[in-house]
């Protein structure tokens, strides 16, 4: 059916417009129907489109909406492209998105700007769908920028608080830095290939006629954009601050969908990266480093949402590791499973915060397992999933990543696998640490908070159950095989099945070891952990300070930039040059007038003499030069 993809994209946009313009006046019930109903409808349309895709044997659906621009011989169209990869992304976006919209009914109840929240959330869905369904890099970039905008609006949703507003601004600006790289990459690709349609770009690069240097440069530039959007080193600094936004926002945007845009971009542009091994290695290295360092930071965080934020950064690093060694489909698989259990974790955290009336410090929690059973149960399931315990979802996807990190013929190495495994151990450790400190042990809550602990309303808990369910079963969908026609698995360095099974067993042991270690260290309310912290005080300070990256940026980048803005642009450029030139012109006119006014003496004799001079001049001119 023609126009299906366009309908899919436009449904959330309609929600944004209606709720944005009329929601405030028409009340929460109306906002709910529009703001949640439309994403659910979008999910239904996505499923329908997927059925059509499958019916056509995986042949991509292409829908051209309109021609944006004609420049010389180049045509820039807005068209949508549905193949298996974008179908998976679209289903995640609309499915998890719709669930989170339902959750938000409970979480945001009674908020002053209820309609604005749902309007922004729908706006985000619209842009994200543009991003994953766009055929050309241009449409993708529009969606890319748009989700950045929606993220800014939603992080700073309670903008009356200056810190929250600042967090939104930080996210947007950091993203923009990455986008500069993205744009340069787009320009490079356009001048090389002559088009921005992604399927045609992949074909052109696969043809092998494009020099490796250009592919590497384009790959690196596009990856810079991905580091901004997907919070990898060095542009990861915005994601922890983004926790200032409402928790459902953190779940949707900063766990399940927007931050995965970078993964999607690299996977989509696999044609380029297959021709640029240097760029791929860079991606793998940065991904792995980010994963490891973020995991170490998560170990010592005391805010429940910050732990999950760094966990997200770490898991994204894993996905980039997979991309870097050529296992594109596996990265998307981990994206898929991660969406479910990370959303479940964030929403569970939101449920905890809701139950504790706004408390977010895990040092003041504990003993909640019996009092909020639904939240606790789903949180446990999701934690086990992310730790990689079989047969839950995370086990399958993470294990595949570690296998290819070791065995991929396109850059796999032992050191990748080793550091990756260490990180997996840390993941299990900090996640179970979180579970223990929040839900188990003796209560460390403040008394008045403890008295009012209550389970969340059904819109919230039902979504938690659904997401926990998917965290269990999502790994059983053989996504890499499903995507293999599009994104084939890389060749292996050594094909010993025994090695693969050994690795799987080792990975399970690592996860269990993390669980046990967490129990040991944090089981009694964290006293043993505190003892270790005191022994390694300096290391602890570095980790708690997030390796002081923000402070380094402040010193190296922001202070000089502020100096330049003040001294060069404000004082020199604006005041002296611009204002000065305008004032100078005015002063020139004034002074010129001051000089010329001396001719007006008011004296009759003088005027007559001026007439004589003028007459002489005219006569000379007429009689000699005419």
């Amino acid at each position: 059916m023609n126009g299906l993809l366009t309908l899919l994209v436009l449904l959330p946009l309609a929600g944004f417009l209606v709720n944005g313009l009329f929601g405030r006046r028409l009340g929460p019930a109306f906002v709910n129907i529009v703001g949640v109903g439309l994403p659910l409808a979008a999910f239904a349309v996505a499923v329908w489109a997927w059925r059509i895709l499958e019916a056509g044997g995986g042949e991509p659906l292409i829908e051209t909406v309109f021609t944006w621009a004609l420049v010389g011989e180049h045509v820039f169209e807005v068209s949508f492209y549905l193949d298996r990869l974008s179908a998976v992304m679209a289903l995640i976006v609309t499915g998890v998105g719709a669930l989170i919209h339902i959750y938000s009914i409970g979480y945001m109840k009674g908020d002053e700007s209820y309609a604005r929240y749902f309007a922004y959330l729908n706006l985000f869905l619209f842009f994200m769908l543009l991003l994953v369904l766009g055929r050309s890099l241009l449409v993708l970039f529009v969606g890319w920028e748009g989700v950045g905008l929606a993220s800014y609006l939603l992080i700073g949703f309670w903008f009356q608080d200056v810190d929250k507003a600042r967090a939104g601004r930080k996210a947007f600006i950091t993203n923009r830095v990455g986008d500069a790289g993205f744009l340069l990459g787009m320009f490079l690709i356009f001048t090389t290939v002559g088009t921005l349609e992604m399927d045609q770009i992949n074909q052109a690069f696969a043809g092998g006629l494009i020099p490796v240097g250009i592919a590497t440069a384009a790959g690196i530039l596009l990856f810079i954009g991905a580091t901004g959007k997907s919070a990898q080193i060095p542009l990861h600094v915005w994601l922890p601050d983004a926790m200032a936004g409402p928790t459902p926002v953190s779940a949707l945007i900063h766990a399940a969908t927007m931050v995965t845009a970078g993964i999607y971009l690299v996977a989509r542009m696999s044609g380029v990266y297959l021709e640029a091994p240097a760029a791929s290695t860079l991606i793998a290295v940065i991904g792995l480093l980010t994963a490891f360092l973020a995991a170490t930071i998560a170990l010592v965080q005391t805010d429940i949402k910050k732990v999950l934020a760094y966990s997200t950064i770490s898991q994204l690093g894993f996905m980039f590791l997979a991309l870097g060694v050529g296992a594109y489909a596996v990265a998307v698989f981990h994206l898929f499973t991660h969406a479910f259990f990370k959303a479940a974790l964030f929403l569970g955290a939101g449920s905890v915060i809701h139950a504790l009336n706004g408390e977010q410090d895990i040092r003041r929690m504990g003993g909640l397992a019996h009092r909020i059973p639904w939240t606790s149960g789903t949180f446990l399931v999701a934690t086990a999933a992310i730790a990689g315990l079989p047969p839950l979802a995370g086990f399958f996807s993470k294990d595949e990543i570690l296998w290819f990190a070791l065995a991929s013929g396109q850059g796999g190495s032992f050191w990748f696998w080793l550091l990756g495994s260490v990180t997996a151990f840390l993941t299990a450790l900090y996640m179970f640490r979180l579970y223990w400190l929040v839900f188990l042990g003796r209560s460390r809550m403040a008394p008045e908070v403890a008295a009012h602990v209550h389970e969340s309303p059904w819109p919230m808990t039902s979504v938690l159950v659904v997401l926990a369910l998917f965290s269990v079963v999502a790994g059983w969908f053989a996504l890499p095989q499903y995507l293999a026609p599009l994104l084939p698995a890389p060749d292996l360095r050594f094909a010993w099945p025994i090695l693969h099974w050994g690795l799987i067993v080792f990975a399970v042991l690592v996860a269990v070891a993390g669980l046990v270690a967490a129990g040991v260290l944090y089981g009694d309310g964290g006293r043993r952990a505190e003892a270790i912290e005191r022994r390694f005080a300096r290391l602890y300070r570095v980790l708690a300070g997030k390796y002081f990256v923000d402070e380094i940026y402040e010193r190296l980048l922001q202070r000089p930039w502020r100096w330049i803005s003040d001294r060069v642009f404000l004082r020199l450029g604006d005041r002296i040059l611009l204002d000065g030139s305008l004032h100078g012109l005015a002063a020139l006119a004034r002074r010129g007038a001051g000089v010329l006014v001396r001719i007006e003496t008011g004296s009759l004799h003088w005027y007559a003499w001026m007439i004589l001079l003028g007459l002489v001049a005219v006569l000379i001119w007429v009689w000699r030069y005419v």
Binding site: W609, L612, L613, L615, W623
Partner: protein, 182 residues
Amino acid sequence: MTIETVFLLVFALGALTGAVAMFFLRHPMRVALALIGTMVSLAAIYAQLGMHVIAVFQVLIYVGAVMVFMIYAIMLLDVRDRSFTERFSPLLVAGLAGLLLLVGVLVDGLLRGQPFAAVDVPPEAFSVGTFAIVFMEQFWVYFALTAVLLLVAEIAASAVIDIRRRGQDVAAAQAERGNERG
């Protein structure tokens, strides 16, 4: 050197003398008389050129009306003020320099010019009869218009003077009343 040329020279000299004398005479009445001398010399030149009608009109209108009017004005005004003791303005030197400049340019332009082609002039061209016929045929509109405009100007002038006088009367009456009270 024909007699006509001599006449022209003599009266031209007269005109120039009058003009130059106007510069140095102190009393405006004497300046007026010098100007009259210049005008009469010019009338003589016109007559010598054969345009008797014009010559007569020059004397009648210019000397007889314009200059007489000016002499009335001189008589009405007390002329013995600063302009009497100091004849020349501050721009005397500048003015004289300008004079030399202007004369130089004019002479230069004149000398560059081509000699004039002589035209056959019928003898009756500038007689009164021809004048009258041309006057009535071609120029009567302009003269009529001029007459109307002069009439309008005259009425306007009297109106202005009347308003002024009335205004001054009112002001004088108010001043008197003020004096009586005070």
